[in-house]
């Protein structure tokens, strides 16, 4: 946004992953963000391939949420720009949907209204948007809870309402901020499997924030490891071999275990 033309050109001419990966849905270019004294992101660049899931992995407070909100257009970077489908982001848009870490459900609205809320804001007629909402409520396994209120649901169920809301607006890019943080281990594994099939079935680009190395390796096509503040990308890892071995077998795959170890090795030096 604040970037000059020349600056942009130099970024594009620099050798980057973009050359190897032709279809990039979202790219972050030289993003910097400072909150008062705290420098959260320093000239961070990263590309997110279309139709794939990219994890952002890094220590707490390193700026993952900040990056996600900048991509969403909720925060403005101090410098640098975000391109979504080649167009610079100037604010929130219908091409991106956010799954909030704390669910952000309307407590006064039923599940179906919450799920349909994105469509409601887009002016979709009530019967039409409720049909769409019902479909996604079923997809996330909440059929029968259409008329329940958020306070009547468990944490994991609320999480799924937030997910269904993001899915129902049919955005190209799904931004998920630690979407499985509030659920128990069993549910979490179930969600991870669901997420894998979601990535396969919906042709959407997922940007996924997590604290868990295992989770990142399990669900991701690409893992970006972020350094502590000021945050840059330390390394981008692309697990390839075990993607097709089926959801149940991934955790036993040698490559899976190798990558988990490797990531832990590169992160442990930053954990006191």
């Amino acid at each position: 946004m604040a970037m000059s033309q020349t600056n942009l050109a130099s970024v594009q001419s620099a050798p980057s992953v973009a050359a190897a990966e032709p279809d990039v849905a979202v790219s972050a270019r030289q993003i910097s963000k400072t909150y008062g004294e705290v420098e959260a992101l320093r000239s961070l660049s990263l590309e997110f391939p279309r139709g794939q899931l990219t994890s952002l992995l890094g220590p707490s407070g390193c700026g993952k949420t900040t990056l996600l909100k900048i991509v969403a257009g909720l925060l403005e970077p101090d410098s640098g720009e975000i391109l979504v489908n080649g167009k610079a982001v100037t604010g929130p848009g219908p091409d991106r949907a956010f799954v909030f870490q704390d669910f952000a459900l309307l407590p006064w609205a039923s599940v179906i209204r919450n799920v349909a809320f994105g469509l409601e804001l887009r002016g979709v007629a009530k019967s039409e948007r409720e049909d769409v909402a019902r479909k996604y409520i079923g997809n996330v396994g909440l059929a029968g809870f259409e008329n329940a209120y958020p306070h009547e649901l468990s944490g994991g169920m609320r999480q799924r309402v937030g997910l269904a809301r993001a899915l129902s607006v049919d955005a190209d890019v799904l931004l998920m901020d630690e979407p499985f943080s509030a659920v128990d281990e069993q549910t979490r594994r179930k969600f991870q499997e669901d997420l894998l099939s979601l990535v396969q079935n919906e042709n959407k680009t997922f940007i996924f924030v997590t604290h868990s190395i295992e989770e990142a390796v399990y669900v991701s096509d690409q893992i970006a490891i972020l350094l502590p503040r000021p945050s840059r990308v330390l390394e981008v890892i692309r697990p390839s071999g075990f993607r097709d071995s089926g959801a149940v077998n991934i955790r036993r795959d040698p490559e899976y275990l190798d990558i988990v170890d490797k990531i832990w090795a590169s992160l442990r030096s930053y954990v006191e």
Partner: protein, 250 residues
């Protein structure tokens, strides 16, 4: 409360006080306090008379308009103050001053400004009710969950939609609490306004009764007013309970 093993309905104590009133009235201690039975007989006599209906109509008119303006101006102002730091800095001191100010003293000034009629009474009513409504709406908005606002922006809400679909509902429990207290204050406002101006509504009626020492009439009208104020307050408390299911979970 329980007595002799029976559950007493709420406010049974009123019966005791009523009996006491009747007793004191019958003893004829003071002309100021006629027996309660006499007051009730008068109440039913008075209640259908044109003078009473006119007073009731005028009071209701001033009250409803006064409360209407207090809500329609107060709620958006409060929400705006909660959302916008600058507006808040500008208005908060005034709201706090007027909230605790002895507004009765302002009524004569209003009479000079707006004349000795309905207009002054309506404005008095609004002035009594509006400040607490503003403060509560503001408090409701200030405790709103930030991520609800971000969620709405993210899914494309215009500022106006954020106002009507997020801020208003998120603050509704507090807003209704404010309106309930505001309405109780408005009852005070409308009566004080009428008493001071005393040519309209119950003000005129009170003036008439007390000038002629018609104490039974005086009490009858007062009981009607108390009952009305109480009913309105209970009605709003009921509405408040209807939204309280999410008040603790925002």
């Amino acid at each position: 409360m329980r007595m002799f093993g029976y559950r007493l309905p709420g406010m049974s104590s009123l019966i005791v006080w009523g009996l006491l009133w009747e007793l004191v009235g019958r003893l004829g201690v003071t002309f100021f306090l006629p027996p309660l039975s006499e007051v009730f007989v008068t109440l039913f006599e008075v209640i259908g008379t044109p003078a009473f209906l006119k007073a009731l109509g005028e009071t209701a008119y001033a009250f409803i308009l006064g409360v209407f303006f207090a809500i329609v101006i107060g709620v958006p102002t409060g929400i705006l103050m909660g959302k916008n730091r600058l507006v808040d800095e500008l208005l908060l001191p005034w709201v706090n001053i007027f909230l605790s100010a002895p507004l009765t003293a302002l009524v004569p000034v209003l009479m000079v400004l707006f004349g000795f009629g309905m207009q002054s009474i309506i404005i008095t009513t609004t002035l009594f009710a509006i400040w607490i409504i503003i403060l509560n709406a503001r408090a409701g908005v200030m405790q709103i969950n930030r991520s609800l606002v971000e969620m709405a922006r993210c899914f494309g809400a215009s500022p106006f939609e954020a106002f009507t679909k997020i801020y208003f509902w998120a603050a509704l429990p507090e807003i209704l609490g404010g309106v309930r207290i505001g309405v109780i204050r408005a009852v005070k406002g409308v009566i004080i306004g009428q008493l001071l101006i005393s040519i309209v509504g119950f003000g005129a009626l009170f003036e008439l009764y007390s000038a002629n020492f018609l104490m039974a009439h005086f009490w009858a009208v007062l009981i009607v007013l108390f009952a009305l104020a109480f009913t309105i307050s209970e009605l709003l408390a009921y509405l408040e309970r209807r939204v309280s299911y999410y008040a603790a979970k925002r």
